[in-house]
């Protein structure tokens, strides 16, 4: 198992050396980074903690990183961890009262949705420094590309694979820990779980922080890779739902599910974009929506879940 994982990583890391076309490398980076966010979401989603607000954490992390770089000249190598930490702090601020006061189910989902919208609107409203709806670009620094984390495709591919491997490793580690059992019990019945000595709030906080951290990491790295930040694509209901759909399409109960889901959604978006172009604006979300509904109706455990059941 471990040997297979190392071999897979080696193959992935070597891929760009075999003259893979830039375009496919670009798709690969986008997939990997989106997979990190989806995997992060699924870490809590699979225990029944449904958040529609992961966009909030991504937005905070990405904008913190980019603003620190543009205004303070702080390298994203420090700005990114700082942004992710800030995103996790926001998650803690939001989640702790929710868990203490038993805001669960639909209520929790909608509170997190509000959080995502707050961040989106704040970014738009602070347009003097964030550029508002027009978005912003991190200052380009061709002389000092490494320090500015403007790595080009090869560098970003390796970074993305590394971060993705870290996310999967964390998933595997959580799966083997007592916390996974505790959280399963909590998702079945909180009171019963508490009565056998599980620290409900603490377990939920831990998984939420990890989950928010990975979503923020994947999302902010994606923004750094594209060198473009936009409130609609980094915060708010749109990105939050996209992450959830990615996780769900692939299957949020298996380790590789969210990755498969991310690959699927990006492949789908690209196919739709290439085949329809700008001729039929709207065809893409339409097909996307239809496929998602069909997925939920007929493959409720996602692509990977379906394969696992057939075996």
């Amino acid at each position: 198992m471990i040997r297979a994982a190392i071999a897979l990583l080696a193959v992935l890391a070597a891929l760009p050396l075999f003259g893979l076309p830039e375009y496919f490398l670009h798709l690969g980076i986008a997939t990997m980074l989106s997979a990190v966010a989806c995997t992060g979401w699924a870490m809590m989603g699979r225990f029944g903690l449904v958040s529609f607000g992961h966009g909030a954490f991504i937005g905070i992390a990405a904008y913190t990183m980019a603003l620190l770089w543009n205004y303070a000249g702080l390298t994203p190598w420090i700005g990114l961890p700082a942004g992710v930490a800030l995103g996790m702090a926001a998650a803690a601020l939001l989640a702790y009262p929710c868990f203490r006061l038993r805001v669960v189910g639909h209520y929790f989902a909608l509170v997190t949705l509000a959080a995502g919208e707050i961040v989106r609107i704040l970014i738009v409203a602070l347009r003097n420094i964030t550029g508002g709806s027009l978005g912003m670009t991190p200052r380009l620094s061709p002389d000092n590309a490494l320090a500015a984390m403007q790595l080009g495709k090869h560098g970003f591919w390796w970074l993305a694979v590394l971060v993705w491997a870290f996310a999967l490793l964390t998933w595997w580690w959580i799966d083997r820990s007592m916390s996974a059992r505790a959280l399963t019990a909590i998702s079945e019945d909180e009171d019963a779980a508490a009565s056998i000595g599980i620290r409900v709030t603490r377990e939920k906080m831990m998984i939420t922080l990890i989950s928010a951290g990975f979503a923020a990491l994947g999302g902010a790295l994606g923004a750094q890779y594209r060198l473009y930040l936009n409130p609609e694509s980094l915060a708010g209901i749109g990105i939050s739902l996209q992450i959830v759909f990615g996780a769900l399409a692939g299957g949020m109960y298996s380790m590789l599910g969210p990755t498969v889901g991310a690959a699927f959604t990006i492949a789908l978006e690209e196919t739709l974009r290439v085949s329809f172009g700008t001729a039929f604006i709207g065809a893409a979300p339409l097909v996307y929506g239809v496929l998602l509904v069909l997925f939920i109706l007929f493959l409720p455990r996602g692509i990977v879940g379906w394969f696992e059941r057939r075996r």
Binding site: H106, A109, A114, A125, L241, A284, L286, Y288, P300
Partner: protein, 284 residues
Amino acid sequence: MDPFLLEAIVNGILLGGVFALPVLGLNLVFGVVDVVWLCYAELVMVGMYCVWFLHTQAGWPLSLAFAACLPVVAMLGLLLHLLVVKPLLGSPPITQVLATGGVLFILQGGAMLTFGTDFRSLGVEMPPMEVGEIFVSGTKLVAFVAALVSAAGLWAFLKFTYVGTAIRAIARDREVMPLMGVDPQRIYLVASAVGGGLAGLAACLLVVQLDVHPFIGLSFGPITFMICVMGGLGNMLGGFLAAFLMGVIISTGGFWWNTEMSYVVAFVFFIVVMFARPRGLFAR
């Protein structure tokens, strides 16, 4: 009192009237079917396009376009229930919510494909009225009164008709009612159609005030959900009152800061309320 502040408060109450109808519709569906329609604001959007198309493109009189909009959106609500919600009734709430989220994309994409991304205006405007020291938009006032009348109509329907009683009973206890000879599936259908119809009504009131475009649902959808949750999901009266509270908060927030910050204030207020009263402001 500062006349501008007074004007902001009055406008907030009028705005609350606009929020009230979608909130009632969502609450009705949630209370009865126990599913959150994430695409509710998009149903309203379809209704707005329907009125716009019939009036400005097909040349129907406005009243006829309004009359046609209601059954169209009610049908849409029925279809949504039959095709998407019904097969998922036994699944976890998350999958139900996400499926209606998929419908959100379908409706948005469909609207973009059919009507493009331009802002479409109905071109109906009534002169502002001067009441005492303040000006009130005529269209907003008419929409507000219409919203109140519709809410009263809904109340009467739930209170005095047989089907309405059955709906309230199902919302209260969905295990016992089937034993009393009520077929829940039929009640779900009725509730979905009425919920859709309310979205159609809201569309009629909104289309005279706002330009319609494919993403308009995102501008008032989230706030609608928040109002519902604040009033207590499924609690019609709570949602109705919360709509006015939220309207006034947004409007006066816009008076003190600006429109965007007023939404931030409203969302923060919502989160604080959730912490203070996790089951809604008016939970018993």
